[in-house]
Assembly symmetry: C2
Homo-oligomer: 400 residues x 2
């Protein structure tokens, strides 16, 4: 049998999905499993989106343009304006999910051996996409005790070598829910400018900022317009993760021309997804507000509930729909598996993502989990109860 690639062998397993077999086994045993592990919103997709499907008036489901349907891109220009992001229609390339936008950004900008710097904990698949491009992710830890603020900019600077090509941020952040401040973004801008780096900015959660602090897009930063590559997706915004529609946005024409070659090779992003995404831009403000309020309430409910449990600590996430919490346990991987394999409270258990998978620095996040508040408050209440009871009997419980 011929050998497989090294690249495949070093690809990390998804921290969100690696425990899925355990969850499936629990379900087969008749246990009800509450999913706090994955950022799959439970809220209905907007009616505008669903109508676009049902009233589809085409006889052939044909290729769309490699950079996406023009009318959709034109409408996106208007959408971004409402966030004071001023881009032209040519700056926008529609991708197959945010995932493809990140992959193509790395493929177009990074050569094998190149490095990017990412504050951790971070979305685990950044590392996966970097491996696809042969590039390396260097991480700088942020810490739960100060609410995952941006690590000192000197730590970024210390990591910069001649192989460093960019910095990647996710804002609002997955998994921490942190929202970078103007002052932090300015520091990033200055560093990007000083070393002429790319700034890859994943901003798919911009609709979900809860603290009243402003959302600062990478495109709001002056003087680095040609360095910014914005990654976007409609998945979370409109509860339509399944349609796989994202975008890569940059004013750097050289990067864009490079990206377009990859786009042409894969022919086109999904047609029907684009039609749905375009219609979704007409979603009523009532829907958007109700979704926002729902997450806002759940956030308070979850975080308050977590902090009431003995030994548990969660900072207040300022955006997105996740929190990283610290638990009084020996090892979150072990605990999360134990919850699925051995524990149940009245026939129920919870599925959380061990935070270790969001760090690359060994040992970090060992007693942390990521919890997504994408289930309703009643189920969150049950989940909190399960967690509280489980921690009372978990054999690896830490006592101070």
């Amino acid at each position: 049998m011929p050998t497989v690639s090294k690249r495949g062998q070093i690809m990390p397993e998804s921290p969100i999905r690696k425990l899925v077999p355990y969850a499936n086994k629990a379900k087969r045993r008749g246990i009800k499993v509450y999913h706090l592990n994955i950022g799959q919103p439970d809220l209905a997709t907007p009616v505008e989106a669903m109508d676009a499907i049902k009233t589809l008036d085409r006889s052939i489901l044909e290729y769309s343009p490699s950079d996406g349907i023009l009318s959709y891109r034109e409408k996106l220009v208007e959408y971004y304006k409402t966030y004071n992001i001023n881009v032209d229609v040519d700056d926008i390339i529609v991708t197959t999910g945010g995932s493809e936008a990140i992959t193509f950004a790395f493929m177009a900008c990074l050569d094998p051996g190149d490095e990017i710097i990412v504050p951790e904990p971070s979305y685990a698949n950044y590392t996966a996409f970097a491996i696809l491009a042969g590039a390396e992710v260097k991480t700088i830890p942020s810490h739960i005790d100060n609410g995952f603020v941006l690590p000192p900019i000197e730590e970024f600077e210390n990591l910069i070598t001649e192989r460093t090509k960019g910095i990647l941020i996710c804002n609002p952040n997955n998994p921490t829910g942190y929202l970078y401040t103007q002052s932090e973004m300015n520091k990033i801008r200055d560093l990007v400018k000083k070393y002429d780096l790319y700034l890859f900015s994943d901003e798919v959660y911009r609709e979900f900022c809860y603290s009243g602090a402003p959302y600062i897009s990478a495109f709001h930063l002056e003087g680095i317009e040609n360095n910014v590559i914005l990654v976007d997706s409609v998945s979370k915004r409109y509860s339509e993760c399944g349609i796989r529609i994202g975008a890569l946005i940059t004013k750097n024409t050289t990067v864009r021309n490079n990206v377009m070659k990859f786009c042409q090779a894969r022919l086109s992003p999904p047609l029907i997804g684009q039609l749905i995404a375009e219609a979704s831009l007409d979603t009523s403000s009532e829907y958007m507000l109700s979704v926002y309020n729902e997450y806002l309430e759940r956030r308070k409910f979850l975080v308050d509930g977590l902090n009431r449990i003995d030994g548990v600590y969660s900072p207040i996430p300022m955006g997105a729909f996740y929190t990283v919490a610290r638990l009084p346990i020996d090892d979150a991987d072990r605990f999360c598996i134990w919850l699925l394999e051995e524990y149940n409270y009245e026939g129920k258990t919870i599925f959380m993502a061990p935070a270790s998978g969001f760090y690359t620095t060994p040992g970090l996040g060992k007693d942390e989990v990521r919890i997504a508040y994408v289930i309703n408050k009643e189920d969150l209440a049950i989940s909190l109860k399960i967690l509280e009871e489980a921690l009372k009997v978990y054999p690896g419980r830490k006592t101070k």
Copy 2:
């Protein structure tokens, strides 16, 4: 401005799409352009597929499993059985188009510097996907004069080095329409076995074999079950290129585990596309037969028409919906651009793909074009007339 990747710079431009700007300019000048350049069928998507969209009964368009929806994969098992391809549901991984299947196959099997051997002319994006993986495509020319039969197997053997990891074939072939014989497939099998290579087999046109000769799948070859990676797509089969649904099929569990890591990183293939593809498997045999008959008639009409034009030669393609024809011209790239930029016959012109983009050996295919018969017979008749008239006045016309 930071530098872009070398990978992006060496990516070839798509031979199908690189002349699109010329076509668009012609259209803006009011010229009617007949598209013979791209494999976008003009035939209606089956009603079963369209109904699946209109009757969609879901409130959330959520992520699907990374390897695809189980019920769809189960139904694919039955579909493949009708072609005597016996695979298990676990052997099938649903991908975002055949493009992603090829990309992931390369990513999972090939390391930077590894080589694969491909008979040319070949689908240009194989090279693009190999570049993504850092691998190299070595080509062996097949020739229009013998109808693009498989080059002597010794030529493959001569190219094998310690970096050679696989052979890639497309059967029935894009762009030539060639269908490999049992004897040719046996030779490929023996070589794959002797050197323990991967056999990447792109078989997306299996529905379209016109010569009565049997379609031999790579999975029909005995003794290399663990070497075969089959690439598939519903795009051409059901005239639904836009939904971006393909499949990667292999019995090699090590490869599959590697591929699944890439699948998990990109989360899932398009949800609605999968629902459409699943429904498409119920397409009536009347539809399939009428599509088949339509292509069969067009093929005869086109190839007969080409061979009637002075100095033009097209072999009879045995499958798919393309032919590669030789024209009495100096340079097909120049001719195709001239057709779009300078020529029109009664306000009409044709858009063909210069074959040079399907070869990597310099100089080959210089007087050849790929023509897709995905427009109706009336339009094919007009296109043939335009070609005939254009060749009479083209300044680079070759006289014997």
